[in-house]
Symmetry: C2
Subunit: 288 residues, 2 copies
């Protein structure tokens, strides 16, 4: 029988062993941490279990007795806790609220260090579908995109200039932890590194597709699933920010421009929803 996992009971909110979870509304900026960025914070049983199953080194878990029971009932998760040797702290919901600064109704939270980020080469190696974001600053859109990417066969995500931090607490939550599983990399912040990354994708055989509401663009079904033709073996789907969209500069570096048709006089789709439709179409084109 596996060893029982030791839990440290803590009743004092000022206990320094709870510092990873202090004042969570302001925890995404940590001048004391490398790069000034916060720890990775996972909330709730599902997302914490995904953190424990990921390459992110878990530092600590804190939660109510009931939530810890629920978390550790899964043998793979319990094994991950043993392997990482992370600290497991049992605290009341009231103490957790006093530490976090608000009532964490999910009753469970975990922290992890930011690992060394993947390189662009690592993310695209073996991938057949990647998404490339430019200027996407909205945490909810990024989280939603990771959630959908994981569900619909996207192998990796690349971040160009101007994107928000994918390990921000809100992104982790909205992605339901998938940002901890689906590999991602940054292309680097300069126009040169951006161009180099797009060129690298082309060198690796990717067809680069710009997603745009421009009515002159081709129907995305004709691009990803050409009638009477064969779908591209590898696709890199470029998506820009809601509103401005992709820069002309970025679109010029792609093989073609694709649109999701919208009725005249209506509004373009929300960014994450447009991407979800593109992921769906890509997956549809590849089914047997």
């Amino acid at each position: 029988m596996a060893d029982v996992i030791a839990r440290i009971s803590i009743a004092d909110p000022s206990d320094s062993r709870l510092d990873d979870f202090r004042d969570l509304n302001h925890s995404d900026r940590r001048p004391d941490r490398p790069g000034g960025k916060g720890l990775v914070i996972a909330e709730g049983v599902l997302v914490v279990s995904r953190l424990l199953g990921s390459r992110f080194g878990c530092r600590a878990v804190a939660g109510t007795a009931a939530k810890l029971d629920e978390l550790l009932a899964d043998p793979a998760t319990a094994e991950a806790v043993r392997r990482t040797g992370c600290r497991v702290m049992e605290i009341s919901r009231e103490v957790l609220a006093a530490v976090a600064g608000f009532d964490l109704h999910r009753g469970l939270v975990a922290s992890a260090d930011r690992p060394v980020e993947h390189t662009v080469e690592q993310v695209i190696a073996g991938a057949s579908t990647v998404v490339v974001l430019e200027g996407v600053g909205d945490h909810e859109n990024i989280g939603s995109m990771f959630r959908n990417a994981a569900g619909m066969g996207v192998d990796g995500v690349l971040f160009g200039a101007g994107c928000a931090d994918p390990l921000y607490r809100r992104v982790v939550r909205v992605s339901m932890g998938h940002v901890l599983r689906t590999p991602f990399a940054h292309t680097g912040g300069t126009p040169t590194t951006w161009q180099r990354s797009l060129a690298l994708l082309a060198d690796h055989g990717f067809t680069l597709v710009s997603l745009t509401p421009d009515p002159r663009a081709r129907h995305i079904a004709d691009v990803l699933d050409p009638p009477g033709g064969v779908p591209p073996a590898k696709v890199a789907l470029l998506v820009g920010a809601e509103g401005p969209g992709l820069t002309e500069h970025a679109m010029r570096a792609t093989d073609c421009r694709a649109r999701i048709p919208m009725a005249a006089g209506t509004d373009s789709l929300n960014l994450a929803q447009a991407a979800a439709i593109a992921f769906y179409e890509r997956q549809r084109s590849l089914r047997g």
Copy 2:
């Protein structure tokens, strides 16, 4: 030259002519109004112009001079203001904030009475694609669905039991005003009226399709765009609440169950996103 539209300048937040816009965070319940529901409230130039172009009788518009200029610069909108005879009030952003109870950064707001609701028969007459919601209580999902429905060729929306009020202020905003344009109706709150509405759809030649994450369901592309076959002439797409989904009872009343394929170990799509993909697939199947 068209008459200049008279604007009433108001500097006193307690002026009773501004009552439609008082305390907007609590304006969705109005015991003094028919059914205890609030007026329809539209915010911002785009949504207010859509309200003015709709069948909803506009009562009043209030906004800053700059926003009123922007709104009335459109001849069709100015004509609608003249036609409805609604009161146009010019107020400062500070007065607007004092009335509404928070800073309305869009600087423009309009009110309308709730019109007599369409019947189910009216909504489905002439329609080739409708969406039928069951138990969808989330305002943001409903708003998002109307926004996408308008853009992707859905002709009408039917509400079964347990759905939130589609004219709630937040729905109007998230829908970008499309809830004021795309016709909708309620099936009535009893199992009998619900069954009768589904039977009516079938009588009118609609193929009833349940959207479900159940892996045993058919791929939605095979249902809406059968390979080598012809897409159904009329489709009613049933969508349930996030989490529980459609009731088994509802699904049994439909012709088939369709799924959007998701990778194992991931989460089903957000409700509005799943619906958006279904709308996309329906539109894709009908293109020439």
